[in-house]
């Protein structure tokens, strides 16, 4: 299905409410600074295990989740989940404290980096098994359709399900998309195509280069989106979410993006050239939006500096919060395994 058919708006920067643009910029910058800080704290051994950073992919989570109504819509992703958690409105303190394994963390220190949840904000995780969130997201969409069909809701909540270019070859993807389409479950399947699964380039493990072609195999609409442009992501997802909420027909969206850091903190990323990384950094979603806003005169350098300083303070405060938070009690290992 083409852009045109979908009718995605292509607005000039000045057509947007500056407050809205500022929020997009702020939200992306918050993720960037949070991830930089998480990486730094990992380097200081304050954080351990797998820590998958989102640097470079900010426009994907911010642009798409910005198109949701989280009072009824839902978000699920994999283990690279800090960005989505922040985009859902979780406070940096909760997330940083979770990375520290503290009892004040969003999962009381039991989940860690790969398992950030906020049930109230409809951030449903955070999953460490590649592709495993796809059937779960499909089930949440099923629940939205279930209540709609039973006449309990006027329209359907939409579930955004994020996964990587590596996850699309899992059987869970195939089974879920067929289920979603035969029952018209209001889900949008978003491939965060950052060109690599760990050290493996997409072309080495995929028979196709653009994943939206797979949509046809499920009689589903599909589209490719530039994930370095937060406004393109936002406008496209806004149109899609509107459609899905009305007709329940799920979408497959291939969002091209890039991760600046290694797969996880332990990956030196020798499998790609500095030139390639730079070519993407030159399209940095934050820098791009900032430039456009400066040119349109809706942002000033000093205004940006102020914003950045505020964010850095907020992130630093989350570190302080995490460090000063208590460890969970040892007896807590027997809690949260079962509901009463």
């Amino acid at each position: 299905m083409s852009d045109k058919k979908l009718g995605v708006k292509k607005l000039a920067i000045k057509d947007y409410d500056p407050k809205f643009l500022e929020k997009l910029l702020y939200d992306m910058l918050l993720i960037r600074r949070f991830e930089e800080k998480a990486g730094a704290m990992y380097g200081l051994r304050k954080i351990g295990g797998f820590c998958h950073l989102y640097n470079g992919q900010e426009a994907v989570a911010i642009g798409s989740i910005g198109a949701l109504d989280l009072s009824r819509d839902y978000v699920l992703t994999g283990y690279r989940d800090h960005g989505h958690a922040l985009a859902c409105g979780m406070h940096p303190n909760q997330i940083m404290a979770e990375l520290y394994g503290k009892v004040t963390g969003s999962s009381k220190g039991k989940g860690g980096s790969m398992h950030i949840f906020d049930a109230e904000k409809h951030m449903m995780g955070g999953n460490g098994i590649v592709g495993a969130q796809i059937p779960i997201a499909t089930g949440i969409a099923f629940a939205s359709a279930y209540d709609f069909k039973l006449g309990k809701t006027k329209d359907m909540g939409v579930t955004l399900c994020y996964f990587g270019d590596g996850a699309i070859h899992q059987g869970a993807f195939h089974e879920s998309l067929n289920l979603a389409r035969i029952w018209n479950l209001p889900a949008v399947y978003i491939v965060e195509n950052n060109h690599f699964g760990m050290g493996t380039a997409v072309s080495r493990v995929s028979a196709v280069s653009d994943f939206d072609v797979k949509a046809k195999g499920y009689n589903m609409p599909g589209i490719t989106v530039n994930g370095m442009d937060v406004l393109e992501v936002y406008e496209t997802l806004k149109s899609i979410v509107k459609e899905v909420r009305e007709n329940g027909i799920p979408w497959l969206v291939d969002i091209k993006t890039y991760r600046y850091k290694g797969h996880s903190m332990s990956d030196p990323a020798k499998y790609r050239s500095k030139d390639e990384v730079d070519s993407f950094k030159n399209q940095d979603p934050i820098v791009q939006l900032k430039q456009k806003m400066l040119e349109a005169g809706v942002l000033s350098e000093s205004g940006y500096q102020k914003m950045d300083d505020g964010i850095k303070e907020l992130v630093q405060a989350s570190v302080t919060f995490a460090e000063e938070s208590p460890e969970p009690a040892l007896e807590s290992i027997y809690q949260d395994a079962y509901a009463e």
């Binding site: 839902y74 963390g105 969003s106 999962s107 009381k108 220190g109 039991k110 989940g111 398992h115 949840f117 906020d118 049930a119 449903m124 995780g125 955070g126 999953n127 460490g128 098994i129 495993a132 796809i134 059937p135 779960i136 997201a137 499909t138 089930g139 949440i140 969409a141 099923f142 629940a143 279930y146 069909k149 039973l150 059987g171 869970a172 195939h174 089974e175 879920s176 067929n178 289920l179 035969i182 029952w183 809690q335 949260d336 395994a337 079962y338 509901a339 009463e340």
Partner: protein
């Protein structure tokens, strides 16, 4: 009291719970229009309609994970696996999500979900279709696992499972769907985690769950003719296990035979034997005897498949062994 089949008991449990709570829905292969491969869901589509009684494609991993997702946002799915053998394809969603989402979210989520279907061998089905997989589920913290073998327990335990806020695996048995038994006319529940003494005796304790309970009862009747009084403890739940009930029986008889249709290594049966040996160390007059499935894949030939499974003869022999007869 009404005399109904095990199949009808399961059907009544689903019917009653679907009637009282519209969060409950049934999903699986052939559960709707075909009324279930084993007719357990007979009539439910007509009564509750296609929104709540749903036929799926053959995609166990997908629709089981779908059930998990729907459960963490408030629905109460009953997922039918045509047989437990096929659930191996969906195990990741059970082990890594249903059983762990609550824990990984620090208690934010709950996963009120039932997964049910026949477990263990039927007849003439060879290796892939004749597996007793209870140990796979019992091994996993975060799950509950029940194995009713009478219509009474089937109805009461399935109702409890549907009302439970945790993922519960309900192990049924194809060979007993047609068995009849009495169930009360009024509503009742059988608590998860409570064993039931299906026959009391004084000389030896038979500890079993699922189909082997019926063999144990036959063996006990057989032994009675020979003047031996055997007690039969039906665990009914294998996670959690009602350890107190096991020890009470063994401390009375001082002799135990554990029967499990699973393969022996790393099984529920050998775990129960371990529990008895370590907790009733001074009470045992003989080593626990363990009658399990032979440690081989199930053959197709009927004489062979019977030889591979626990039998009345094997149980009687084991009982005499612990009685030094």
């Amino acid at each position: 009291m009404a005399l109904i089949t095990y199949r009808e008991a399961l059907n009544q449990a689903m019917d009653e719970e679907m009637a009282r709570d519209d969060r409950v829905y049934l999903m699986g292969e052939e559960v709707a229009e075909y009324n279930g491969a084993y007719k357990v869901s007979k009539g439910l589509l007509d009564k509750y309609g296609p929104i709540r009684v749903i036929d799926t494609p053959i995609a166990e991993l997908g629709f089981t994970g779908l059930g998990v997702g729907s459960a963490i946002v408030g629905l109460r799915p009953i997922i039918e696996w045509m047989t437990m053998n096929f659930g191996i394809l969906a195990l990741d969603q059970i082990v890594n999500n249903a059983a762990k989402l609550r824990h990984m979210s620090g208690g934010q989520l709950k996963c009120p979900m039932v997964v049910r279907g026949p477990n263990g061998p039927a007849e003439y089905l060879s290796s892939q279709h004749s597996q007793a997989l209870a140990s796979y589920f019992a091994h996993i913290p975060g799950l509950k696992v029940v194995s009713p073998i009478t219509p009474y327990d089937a109805k009461g335990l399935l109702k409890s499972a549907i009302r439970d806020d945790n993922p519960v695996i309900v192990l049924e048995a194809e060979m007993v769907y047609g068995h009849t038994g009495e169930v009360p006319d009024e509503e009742y529940l059988v608590p998860i985690g409570k064993a039931d003494v299906k026959r009391s005796g004084s000389d030896v304790s038979f500890i079993a769950y699922g189909k082997p309970v019926l063999l144990a009862l036959q063996a006990a009747a057989e032994l009675e003719k020979q003047g031996i009084s055997a007690e039969v403890v039906d665990l009914r739940s294998v996670r959690p296990i009602d350890e107190a009930a096991i020890y009470e029986s063994v401390r009375k008889t001082n002799r135990a035979v554990v029967i499990d249709e699973s393969w022996p290594i790393a099984s529920i049966g050998s775990h129960v034997s371990h529990l008895i040996a370590t907790n009733c160390f001074d009470d045992l007059d003989a080593p626990v005897e363990y009658v399990s499935c032979e440690d081989v894949p199930m053959p197709y030939n009927h004489a062979l498949e019977l030889a591979v499974q626990p039998s009345v003869e094997k149980i009687v022999k084991a009982a005499k062994k612990v009685l030094y007869l």
